[in-house]
Symmetry: C2
Subunit: 648 residues, 2 copies
């Protein structure tokens, strides 16, 4: 845990919260503390609604035309324009606050990235491709064995590497390289259980600068990391949108695009183009050269993996959903057009099935659930939702064709979690006014996944929508935010003049339907997986949420809408980009490559599309939080209380 | 042994010879029988000197202006224009014949190609790269494993192939290929002890047409053979001059050419160009497609091997003569520009040392001497002379920098063994007139290696030269063929008007010096090798002569000049192109590839350039046949008799 820096107390509720970062934003802290402050512009400082009065403590705050000199002198500030640099006591004005406790208070629980691979920490890197330095005896008339023979002998003698082979691209320069280095050389060796293959020989001792590349090839985003294999440290990280996006948002449209003439090649080139951009940024950040890279590890879902390698993905899409392969041989990065020297070999994380790919295998590896006795639910929510349930003894997986709702697809103002996306929403149950925060605290231009979860949870708890996702039209008389627009009934999250758009940002009923279908498909997939092994949600000892999506969600809210099973939030951890983390581990430790293969072999995939049980479960999950309310006692109580209050 | 067809008896000597080929040339048969018939034009029918009278039997003969009608009617014919089609009795005219017996007759012994690999005959081919046909269960919802997994399972179940891997180039088309063939497919699998690698998958059953390629990359000539791996039969053979020749005649000049900018690439391209030409011819002859080829095996000397693979050969030439490698990994032919599909992998015969290459390893493999208890001397005479001595328990090798004299280099009228080359020479000891035969029986344009050996032997036995290779000027008074020309003393082998040139074809003293140095370096290399293991020439149980050169030499004459040790000619066998034969064996049987590696490992190479003993032996061998005349008792006796006769 990071160290506490400051404490902020909000009055008159007396709610206190610890702040861990210097210069944290006051509105954001209020959001985390569960203190409602009206905020309409996402924290951009333009609506002037988030006025608070700072009673005590040190802070920095921007002047604002929204505040009079008199207000300023009395200590009023815009919360969104205020940075916390000391312990504070803050008074929330009456127009913002409400009697929250009556609502059966739901603690906010923002996930923190967890590190699961404790057991691997402190272990000296032992990468599959490693450099070995040798000093060779100079050839003489009595000892004029071949250069390669001499090198092989030294590798055996000094590093116990036997069965050493190479390819002719290495042999081509070997004579010159050995002599250039005065018979001192560094061999980059690819190690398997069965053999050792020299992929490169450099003059002199080049061990000092050796990096491994980890690349997570996501459908939407390609993430990369550069690792110093001498220390095991991550020296740079970079990401960019997968340039394939312009040829289709999800794997299905990409597969369709791949079937057109030249489509597969075009998709491959776009992925490679993005990888080259990410690589360039990584090298610049680390001040490294492409020639310093010894090897790479890639992970992607099955479609991304096949597209990267140029393997026809056609049958991934057609029943019975057969991938070309689950295990992919190492490949030469340069063969694909990735701008590294020809010696750089890439390992590919093995896939489990057509819709449970190498990113999931890498994710399981990163979480260590395959070596952990606890029953774990691993969930990677992106375009699809992939789920793995199990422990060190067994694992089952499934893919829920969740749809990209949480990534912004099928939602009118949906967008990815980038600048200007509304990422957090609270609604004042009394006046139904929202408190919204955007990424970057700029005026909003859309809504990202975490805010959609917030909206669903807040809507249902404030009665704005019913449990089957329909707007409560009776409330329209109480607020102009609930209205009938051109797409039917909707809630206005942000008025046009506060946005970057020229229209109000709203949530419409079809958005809500989509979100319910998405969360329902994920929950029911978990449910079917558990039933298939004779277990229940209550048996799950921990939940790990992976992927960019998970980073910002409020766990309790995700439980409130029935995306996650209702359990102790402390059991839920955010795994971050576990796909990239798994690649990094495999890049540093060759045993992890073997483990990844074991994981892919160990996981039994269950094809939900073929399951009647899944359809039943899915229909049951199309309710907020679920038709089986007994599985969500806390949320049931909150809804009951809210109804009670409204009825008063 | 082939079946005898006819018998020819030459009168008045009464010498009989069996003829094994239909329509054999009478002059050629006389030559083999050791019957001297004057012949100046190489058998072209232009000099008219080889008149004989046919007393009995069937023959076909061309009319010639050199014969009068009267002569024709009496049965006179030009021997060189006569084909034998029945048993013959032939009278040699007095002007041709001489009392040969007085000279201590040396039986002619033309080598026959021997087959050594009897033990391998009849064995079903078991190539390293083989096709396996499988019928796969169609995927269903219950069995939707990956295409590659399905294929791997079938290969294991039906063919017991485990640890199957592939590369992404195969995966790319795998989904389409399996479905095109209706789940029936043929996998081409590269087998090693440790793993099985699928290099290609084709729809349906393609086992019927599968060929392997064997290529001997010679410094001068590239020979190729195409083998049907289903039957083991050689279905085509082709050869062409190595296009590298224009960049240098021997390995040393090629290495120098490779060091120039772009030189290595240019040399590689030329070898590949020649291979492509040979391949095209092979495919045309066999009516096969490049796509029918499953794999290839290459052999060449160390320099040729490195040039083919584009590996810098610089240090082969510089003391202490270190090759880049002796063992070369399999390579993808298409990577080098050889026009075959990308799946075709090439194996490279391992080398022993810088000047004992894969052609020698292949040669030893072909002769089976590594599995034979008999002490064998294996000799491949080309530009260099490579020698291996040993048996199933041990082998030593050496390379004698013989120089290309026997290939025509450093000999004024020297040429390779092609049309118009004088290939056989006999000299009438009484009048010193020659009997010459050319390849193709066209007018001569030069002298090839076998004729040079003949000349040396005949010259020394007829006293034309002394045992240290100088012309016996006293004989000039007896014949105008011995004369002082612009290059000093010489013997006229063919007068200008009988040649394709506009000058007399002669042998000059520097030619003789060169030939003596060449034969001396080979003999002394054998001698040093034997001494290094404590053995003598008399311990050798068989001699195998390999290479194009060996095909035409007269064994007894090679002994007469001290190129070969004087032993029972029956112990000498001609191996033919043992390098190509070894490649063919390795292409058909994967165990032979292992054996080749064992051979290369087993042979101890002795670097003669570093050996004082070699210099002593070499100097001792610069004599005809040798300064140690006791090692050549038969030739010593012949020389003694000849001197006696001349002294009379």
């Amino acid at each position: 845990m990071p160290e506490r820096r400051y404490t902020v107390r909000f009055e008159p509720d007396g709610v206190s919260i610890d702040v861990y970062r210097e210069a944290e934003n006051l509105l954001r802290v209020a959001m985390v503390a569960g203190v409602h402050i009206n905020a309409s512009c996402g924290g951009a400082g333009t609506c002037g609604k988030c006025k608070v009065r700072i009673l005590e403590g040190e802070y920095r705050s921007q002047h604002s035309s929204k505040l009079t000199q008199d207000e300023w002198d009395k200590g009023y500030r815009l919360a969104c324009q205020t940075e916390i640099v000391g312990d504070l006591v803050v008074e929330v004005p009456v127009e913002s606050r409400y009697e929250k406790d009556v609502l059966g208070r739901r603690p906010d629980h923002v996930l923190r990235a967890a590190r699961f691979q404790k057991e691997y920490e402190g272990i000296v890197p032992e990468p599959a491709v490693a450099k070995f330095y040798v000093e060779l005896p100079e050839p003489t008339a009595d000892n004029n064995m071949s250069d390669m023979g001499r090198l092989g002998q030294a590798l055996k003698r000094e590093h116990e590497l036997d069965k050493v082979s190479t390819d002719y691209t290495v042999l081509r320069d070997l004579p010159a390289v050995l002599r250039e280095g005065g018979w001192k050389a560094t061999a980059t060796v690819m190690r398997t259980h069965r053999s050792h293959r020299i992929v490169r020989v450099e003059p002199g001792d080049t061990r000092g600068r050796t990096f491994a590349l980890a690349i997570d090839v996501g459908t939407t985003t390609i993430h990369g990391a550069l690792l110093d294999v001498n220390t095991g440290a991550e020296v740079a990280r970079a990401a960019d949108y997968n340039a394939q996006v312009s040829m289709g948002e999800d794997v299905i449209t990409r597969i369709i695009a791949a079937l057109k003439p030249g489509g597969l090649e075009a998709l491959q080139k776009r992925a490679v183009k993005t990888i080259n951009g990410v690589l360039k940024e990584l090298l610049a950040k680390a001040e490294a050269e492409a020639g310093d890279i010894s090897h790479a590890v890639f992970a992607g879902n099955t479609t991304m993996t096949q597209l990267l390698l140029g393997v026809n993905p056609k049958y991934i899409r057609e029943a019975p959903y057969v991938p070309a392969a689950n295990f992919f041989p190492p490949f030469r990065l340069a063969d694909l057009g990735i701008r590294v020297p020809p010696h750089v070999m890439g390992y590919v994380m093995p896939c489990v099935a057509s819709y449970v790919g190498g990113d999931i295998t890498a994710g399981v590896l990163a979480t260590g659930m395959h070596t952990d006795p606890r029953l774990t639910l691993f969930m990677d929510v992106g375009t699809n939702g992939e789920i793995v349930i199990g422990n060190q003894d067994w694992m089952v997986s499934a893919s829920a064709s969740a749809g990209p709702a949480f990534e912004g697809g099928g939602v009118k103002f949906g967008m990815r979690a980038t600048y200007g996306a509304i990422e957090q929403v609270r609604i004042n149950p009394e006046n139904l006014e929202p408190m919204i925060l955007t990424i970057g605290q700029v005026p909003p231009k859309g809504i990202c996944g975490s805010a959609m979860i917030d909206c669903l949870a807040e809507f249902v708890e404030t009665g704005i929508i019913t449990q089957n996702g329909k707007f409560n039209r009776e409330l329209a008389s109480r607020t102009d935010r609930i209205r009938e627009g051109e797409n039917g009934w909707e809630y206005v999250l942000c008025w046009k003049d506060q946005t970057q758009l020229d229209q109000d940002i709203t949530i419409i009923e079809p958005d809500i339907d989509n979100l319910i279908r998405t969360k329902g498909s994920i929950y029911s997939a978990c449910s079917v997986l558990l039933k298939s092994v004779g277990l229940h949600f209550s048996d799950i000892e921990r939940i790990i949420i992976a992927g960019g999506f998970g980073q910002f969600i409020d766990v309790e809210k995700a439980m409130a809408i029935g995306l996650l099973p209702e359990t102790d939030p402390e059991r839920v951890a955010y795994g971050g980009n576990t796909s990239l983390a798994g690649c990094e581990m495999a890049a540093l430790h060759r045993d992890r490559i073997d483990e990844a293969e074991q994981i892919a072999t160990m996981i039994t995939n269950i094809e939900l599309s073929a399951s009647n049980m899944y359809m039943e479960e899915y229909v049951a999950a199309l309710f907020l939080p679920h038709t089986r309310m007994e599985e969500f006692p806390r949320e049931a109580e909150r809804i009951r209380l809210a109804q009670q209050i409204r009825a008063q």
